[in-house]
């Protein structure tokens, strides 16, 4: 007798079903790099499908002020984007802007109601303060923002010029807080935190930013005509027009310096120079800002620093010295070293100093200070040395980016909530594995090279005249095409059921990107960092051992098909035609998007995320449920993935063989390809197909009558 294996097959199936409902996708590098951990891959994919409103919803779920980021985010996601390894990164910020504008983000109302009693005070209304207010309000706390200036926004309002962040955009975002019931006290400078506690606030978030300009500490810095960069920008943003003369120099290499220079230009100064003491490579300002500045005619002098300023005949005579780069400092940046004897003199009307900013913390706060006049706060809990006092944003980190401040504000809200509810402040537990690893050369070779569509901008001449926004948005087509370049990192295929795998090598043979391979022990591995998520191996695996990592991808076609069949059954239009149409292609986003609305009687569209995922099984099911005709419409040559047309045709042939044996004409199943390149009109082809199906349907009705 043979010994029996324990029959836990039912348990095994149950476990399988559970495993199938879990999101097994890996966190892509863009999301990992974003301080807010936005689900970038998700909203880029939705944009590629033309589902802009849903993309906007995803964005709003992760970011309370998407419009702001859409204009000024420094996009660490793009720097981490793996498309860089192929050609250029996905223009995430530009896509976000498209979603925000096209989706009408400004129409969206925010609401909140008070469910808690503890009042929270937020000192400073920069992005960190605004985000903290938003999230605390959502949690039901009464929140008051104290802002020293007359308007909310912090650096957003007084630091970033309007040609980068238009006033209306900021106003709309800030409005939300008022709608939500946040109490706002502008023109109110807080000098003592004790006072706030006396007023009944239970917790305070100090986020006063870094506005105090650093000094060069050179002779003559006090002279009239030498102004601080941040102050300059604030004045301009608040409506003043300082007179600068005809020749202006800006000292510094960060965004404030470049902003100051470009602002000066727009105020009518014909000759604007930037003096920076290191070289282009070390310049902290973002590349695109520098590019645009150069285009506008601003002259940047590298390896130059002022050493002495003298006032002469109403102008400034600035002595500069040339620098060379010496040894790297503790942080790895090469130190500039003056070259002896290389001094020279230059004359300017105004010298703008923008070499860095620091927070200006009133002594009355009683908080411990750290390096560079920043406030010391615990990185996990954001607490300071004072109980109930939290700090974050530029005030703690020194000048940083908007998105980091937003992240700090969001974290502060949850920490303050923990504090007030006496919860243990647990660390952020991200259970999802991060995608690591670079693309292999072999994979890169197979990926279709499509250049990045840069955001169109106003011409340099047009834009240097006033403060109109420099960047224009994407058109619909540009946005969709740009979004389709995404490689979908981390949501590809995996061999989930290793016990079913027969190592038949089919996945290895059919993958257009040569991703699956045999490891040293003869087991098939599908490296998650190379997989391009096309879905071919999933559909071809004879043992059904491979799944796509995202549960939605796994269920999608079956659910959509069932939904379409239900609707079709209810409407009872004949002949019933089911069309599996690629959401990324013509039917989703292009010329035939109108079909979505059931515009043609009897044709029901099943949107699929690439026709490579449509299996012969799905086609048969449509026929089983009464379809007279089935078509598959893909993107053909425009498909972002390789070889998809070949697989669609293989499966069509397979299903046709069965149809023939059942007595159904094989022509009832057709594969249409997006024919924008080869001249045919898909709408016409579809019409012809529908007509033919109609004829077949009538013929079958007549036959039935004749028989009975």
């Amino acid at each position: 007798m043979y010994s029996s294996v324990t029959d836990d097959t039912q348990n095994r199936r149950d476990r399988q079903t559970k495993r199938l409902s879990v999101d097994r996708s890996l966190m892509p590098p863009c999301q990992a790099a974003c301080p807010l951990h936005m689900d970038i891959r998700e909203y880029v994919d939705l944009t590629a499908q033309g589902r802009i409103m849903e993309a906007l919803q995803v964005i709003r779920n992760g970011n309370p002020f998407p419009s702001i980021c859409a204009y000024v985010c420094t996009h660490p996601c793009e720097d981490a984007c793996r498309r860089c390894q192929v050609d250029k990164p996905i223009a995430v910020r530009a896509l976000k802007r498209f979603a925000v504008e096209f989706g009408g983000d400004r129409m969206i109302q925010s609401e909140a109601e008070t469910t808690r009693g503890e009042k929270v005070a937020i000192v400073g209304s920069g992005p960190a303060g605004l985000a903290c207010a938003y999230y605390l309000r959502k949690l039901g706390y009464p929140v008051t923002i104290f802002e020293a200036h007359s308007e909310l926004g912090g650096m957003l309002r007084v630091g970033i010029p309007q040609y980068r962040l238009p006033r209306e955009v900021l106003d709309t975002e800030v409005q939300r807080l008022t709608q939500m019931g946040v109490e706002i006290r502008t023109n109110t400078r807080v000098v003592s935190l004790d006072l706030l506690f006396d007023m009944g606030y239970k917790a305070v978030f100090v986020t006063i930013g870094a506005h105090q300009g650093l000094r060069m500490e050179i002779e003559g810095e006090e002279s009239p005509g030498v102004i601080d960069g941040a102050t300059f920008l604030r004045e301009v943003n608040l409506g003043l027009k300082p007179s600068l003369g005809r020749k202006v120099a800006v000292v510094g290499g960060g965004n404030v310096a470049v902003d100051a220079a470009r602002t000066a230009l727009r105020l009518g100064v014909p000759n604007v120079k930037i003096l920076y003491r290191r070289s282009r490579a070390e310049m902290p300002a973002s590349d695109i800002e520098v590019e645009q500045a150069l285009e506008e005619g601003i002259d940047v002098r590298f390896l130059v620093a002022p050493t002495r300023i003298k006032r002469k005949n109403g102008r400034l005579s600035v002595t500069c010295v040339r620098m060379e780069l010496g040894e790297p400092d503790a942080r790895g940046r090469r130190q500039p070293v003056p070259i002896k004897g290389s001094e020279f003199n230059k004359e300017f009307d105004t010298l703008i100093v923008a070499i860095g900013q620091a927070p200006q913390t009133p002594g009355g706060f009683g908080v411990r200070m750290g390096r560079g006049s920043t406030i010391q706060a615990d990185p996990i809990t954001l607490t300071t040395n004072r109980a109930g006092v939290f700090a974050g944003g530029d005030a703690v980190s020194g000048p940083a980016t908007v998105v980091e401040a937003l992240a700090a504000g969001r974290l502060a809200a949850s920490r303050i909530d923990d504090y007030l509810q006496r919860r243990y402040p647990l660390g952020d537990k991200e259970t999802r594995q991060r995608l690591s690893g670079d693309l292999l050369l072999e994979t890169i070779e197979m990926i279709r090279k499509v250049g990045r569509l840069e955001l169109p901008t106003l011409s340099p001449e047009a834009r240097s005249k006033d403060f109109k926004p420099v960047e224009l948005g994407y058109s619909w087509e540009a946005a969709i095409n740009e979004a389709r370049r995404c490689l979908r990192c981390g949501m590809g295929a995996e061999i989930l059921f290793q016990d079913k795998c027969a190592t038949c090598l089919t996945c290895l043979r059919v993958c257009p990107y040569h991703v699956p391979h045999l490891d040293a022990s003869g087991t098939i591995q599908i490296p998650d960092d190379q997989c391009q998520a096309c879905g071919v191996c999933v559909a071809e695996c004879p043992a059904k051992a491979i799944v796509l990592r995202k549960p939605y991808d796994r269920r999608q076609i079956t659910e959509e098909l069932d939904h379409a069949l239900k609707s079709a059954a209810q409407s009872n239009l004949k002949p019933l035609i089911i069309g599996f149409c690629c959401q990324y292609g013509l039917f989703g986003t292009g010329a035939l998007a109108g079909l979505w609305r059931g515009a043609k009687a009897g044709i029901w569209i099943v949107p699929v995320l690439c026709t490579a995922k449509v299996e012969a099984d799905h086609m048969l099911r449509a026929f089983e449920m009464g379809a007279e005709g089935v078509f598959i419409a893909g993107c053909g040559e425009q498909c972002a993935r390789e070889n998809t047309d070949f697989w669609v045709r293989q499966r069509v042939e397979k299903a046709r063989r069965i149809l023939a044996q059942i007595g159904l004409e094989p022509e009832r199943l057709q594969a249409f390809v997006s024919t924008t390149t080869n001249g045919g009109d898909p709408a016409e082809e579809l019409d012809r197909f529908a007509e033919r199906m109609g004829n077949l349907y009538l013929a079958s009705i007549i036959m039935q009558e004749v028989r009975s």
């Binding site: 027969a502 038949c504 043992a543 099984d617 048969l620 009464g626 044996q661 059942i662």
Partner: protein
């Protein structure tokens, strides 16, 4: 490995015609590899049968699906015991061995073959399978430079070639290479043409009486010595 091909839908429908509840049983080894009877094909056949049923209007059958890792091992067959209570027939997509194993184990259930077991072979590339071995039991690949004259020569002769070879192809089909031309060329390359000059006497067909048995274990007398 064993390569099989699924039977036509018409034939399968004829076979299952008189049975109401049919279990479509797949096999996770050889027929999965050659895409004839694995879990995917089980699912596809199930769908096809349902479409056929829906279109023809007589919904006599109900189908269930299951795939075993292998059908040819008794321990794997154990896993079926709970699943065949409400079944009138099993349509096995396993190779002929599997069908027989299932039939022997569940002898009161009709077991029907869903695939034609065709040969032992290997893939040329995805989707193309070539026969390589006939299990003659008397392997002489060493004499023929690793090319089997039994399977690859359509006549299976040992003193080849015959006169029907033309352009290196077999008289039976222009797509088939003449195995003996291949053998000649490879022996030439190995400088072993002597092999082909030798006379090979007729095959020992006793190597394959039907059904054959190989006993690989030693027969030991309990309490006595090894035989």
């Amino acid at each position: 490995m064993i390569v099989a091909e699924q039977k036509s839908l018409e034939e399968i429908r004829r076979m299952i015609d008189s049975y109401g509840r049919v279990l479509i049983l797949g096999c996770g080894t050889c027929v999965t590899v050659c895409d004839a009877g694995g879990e995917r094909e089980v699912s596809f056949l199930h769908n096809a049968l349902r479409v056929a049923q829906a279109r023809s209007g007589n919904g006599a059958h109900t189908f269930s699906e299951y795939t075993l890792k292998r059908q040819c091992d008794p321990e794997f067959l154990d896993m079926l015991t709970g699943r065949v209570e409400d079944v009138d027939a099993i349509l096995s997509l396993g190779c002929g061995i599997g069908v027989q194993a299932v039939a022997e184990r569940f002898s009161d259930l009709p077991v029907l073959p869903g695939v034609n077991t065709s040969f032992m072979g290997m893939p040329k590339e995805w989707g193309i399978w070539d026969e390589r071995c006939a299990a003659c039991g008397d392997c002489r690949l060493g004499d023929t430079a690793g090319i089997c004259p039994i399977t690859r020569c359509t006549k299976g002769i040992l003193n080849g070639p015959c006169a029907g070879t033309k352009n290196g192809k077999c008289e039976a089909s222009k797509d088939m290479d003449c195995a003996w031309v291949l053998i000649y060329k490879r022996l030439e390359g190995l400088q072993q043409l002597e092999n082909m000059r030798r006379y090979y006497p007729p095959r020992n067909f006793r190597a394959i009486p039907r059904p054959k048995r190989i006993v690989s274990k030693a027969i030991i007398d309990v309490g006595g010595e090894n035989e």
